[in-house]
Subunit: 279 residues, 4 copies
């Protein structure tokens, strides 16, 4: 039987000997080998009404963690930049009301102190995978960190970035695959599910998958979500918006409540086949 | 309810209007939207004993089509080059004995006439996806053609290559995803399962997946096979050898009988969840 | 002083010990370490008038070898497919009139016998770099072979493909870099000039560069041609059309006479700085 | 005749109408269309003696700007992390003694205030190309910024990152091409010289090239440096160490004084051919 420990208290990212898999807890919600944890929510907090509606949908349909962006840094000065601390408070309140823990992105090392006051876990976006001052800062925080793979990062580089966080003192790291950049631009990024399987062999850390970065067809997102579960992912990151057509940000890539319900239906049937249950 | 036609008799690779999906029959075995067809066998025919043992394993465990290489062209003059026509005959006899149809690669347009005397279906390998004289020649043959995606081919280019076969008069084409070349060399090629889902939306042709090209761990091959089924593949191409340790070719990437049995076990449980049955 | 031999009569593609560089002669024109040989001509032979005009332009401005396609295989059934043997004869006559040797593509192993009756050298296009029956067939021909690098071929694979030709008995191989496929599609393929420098260190074969595959600005083509010479290329493959606006094929990527004259002007000034002269 | 303005005071990264090229001045040294500026120095400041020796070599052989790392953030916790502010002071003193301006990397937005006290220009490394808080912070600084292209950044994304700096109020941006990540790992990154030519057409900003990221052969570095000049680069970033065999960091990729002298010799001869002079 597979030995499971709550959090590795020493050592690095790589498996050593017969050590068990790490389980990371976000609020009380486990992310690890025995569970299939769905982390869901809108791309950005837009208003009190929107985030409360989103939180209710996520909770009711079986999501385990609420996720939304608040600072919304964009790689262009011309896009919506988010609502900042106001949004953090709205996000926290909506999550509390629905009974969900909160994951949100942090991109500036100077914001970490503020964000940990509101969020249960921190997300390092793909573009910041090698933002070394940021990795060090979240390594000092007492919150789980979800570390997205950079769009051109090898598995080795991804694990080294996680190592920077562990090395700074924080053992609660979850890896997140969300697609790599290849010549194939028809589907946005190329979701690399073999990397999920491979990194789970090499490392004891949980690995979740974000199946969104390949265009905006709900069918494709659900298909890739199923494939991610079948490949062994410990969780899914899903963009859910109460009304995608009115979203300020990434609407076409977001699932509405009905599509999210269909996805959860599939996931519930698949999870037992790979030895997992929803938390 | 989804309309299914046996083979499109006109038109191209792309879906037009509400037309149904194409079903390609290899021997009597269907490849198409309602089935999950497992095509399996050793990389190369090595001897009468080996190919007979392989055929028995494939048949007994539920494989639908026997597949093995006979000419085994290699992109280096220093590797084993296959047994040629002798191997074709051994392959045919082993398949007949086991009650399976045969798929084998053809790489030289001058060999097509010979190969169709023995094989039920023809495989165009990834490296030949844009070998235009070869595409034209198999387009004139009265055998189904499995067309692997080139390692750097966009979905558009892959579909155009299929179009060359249809255009020459042969509507029985099955597309085969087997991984693209990316910066991530840790897992050999990067299996692009979103492409499977995407090309099934764009085209009416069946799509199968070869989950082998990412290193030689049976665990990873089985994981990616499960993911391919979950993503909607109409079939799997699996390298099975009665004794991988003694294989002359691609042994480390081949499954032995026990690993193949485990894979078939998983596949049987997954297929109904995506609306498919084994033929 | 660098030892130069005319053609290696034994051994493989790799440098061994202090052996010299191979010089390949096309007609009487050398391609090798001391020369900068410009191979130029239209993408396709369109008419007697067009190819004669092109040949005159190439010769007058200092091109060493005339190059044009005659079969023009395309990776889509819907494009112009070339004029075949008629075009071969027009190409030969135009070249003879202008006093140039001829390079043309061959894509079907069954065409090699015909093509060698007309052409001084054979071109294997990028898409056929691993077309093994074709490599073997040109390996039996007594004509120099220009082998383009496949769009996703590593340097190792490119050299192994050349090895297939040498191994079949033909030591007169010239390598041709023409860009690799990367995520950066803004410039078509990505010209990999470091590969030119690297393969010249690893191998004794001449290496030429085709700077066209990155969009159709004459400025960019000339800039990349200069860069290729500065990086150590032994030659350039240039698409020249007497009237690009009327070209049936790849017109926007072709240089007209004035742009070609400007390119030759730059090349003449650069060549001496890298120890080369025009033949 | 090409109109040249000192620094664009309004508008974005893209060329608009017949506007001239931007010239950025570092200390008094120009980087722009009429010059070929060599920015050189060791990967890291290791000691007072080392950086003074390096500065003397750079100045004597014709380098225009001294460059060295001081914080040396590494994407692994196990590598040398640099000497910090002590190194900044040593770098400044060595540069003053030699009569050179200073370029150094900044990776943490909290360090910008400190670094501008010592450095004439700031380098944003490839891994930080989309570090948005950092871009904003250097956009507020009154120092020129050299912005390296991310290893998987399209030209569009690179220009948008520059736009973030301009948008924050700093018009003094120099773009730096240093290779993209492709399947071809034989040469580290793939130097994309077509991107240099292309971005110079699209933007009015100066573009320099770092030819180092393709392995450690001085021959290849010099070859790519020549190619970069021939392709139209406005400058070169060269790693020079007084004694590469003893370097603490990137020694094998650094040129010693003799190799640097050879490179400068080549560059001096090439520059006039592309209409440039050394400042």
């Amino acid at each position: 039987m597979k030995q499971v420990i709550d959090v590795k208290t020493s050592g690095g990212v790589r498996r050593v000997g017969a050590g068990g898999d790490t389980v990371v807890h976000v609020g009380g919600v486990p992310v690890g080998p025995d569970h299939l944890t769905v982390i869901a929510g809108p791309s950005t907090v837009e208003s009190e009404e929107q985030i409360r509606a989103a939180a209710r949908v996520v909770k009711r349909l079986g999501g385990g963690i609420l996720r939304a962006g608040v600072f919304q840094p964009k790689a262009s000065p011309y896009e919506f930049q988010g609502l900042g601390e106001t949004a953090l408070r709205l996000l926290r309140d909506a999550a509390d009301e629905a009974g969900l823990p909160v994951l949100t992105e942090v991109a500036d090392p100077r914001d970490v102190g503020l964000v940990v006051e509101y969020a249960d876990a921190l997300l390092i976006a793909a573009r910041d995978m090698q933002n070394l001052p940021l990795l060090k800062e979240v390594g000092l925080a007492r919150r789980p960190v979800f570390l997205e793979r950079g769009p051109a990062a090898t598995i080795e580089e991804w694990m080294l970035a996680a190592e920077c966080i562990l090395d700074a003192g924080n053992p609660q790291v979850v890896l997140c695959e969300r697609g790599i950049r290849t010549f194939d631009t028809a589907a946005g990024a190329t979701l690399d599910l073999a990397a999920v399987a491979l990194v789970k062999r090499l490392s004891h850390l949980p690995v979740v998958t974000d199946p969104h970065y390949h265009g905006g067809h709900p069918d494709l997102i659900c298909g890739m979500a199923r494939a991610a579960v079948a490949a062994g992912s410990d969780g899914l990151m899903i963009r859910v918006h109460p009304d995608p057509d009115r979203a300020l940000c990434e609407g076409p890539q977001s699932l509405g409540p009905l599509d999210f319900a269909a996805l959860m239906h599939d996931v519930r049937r698949l999870a037992p086949l790979v030895g997992k249950k929803l938390p």
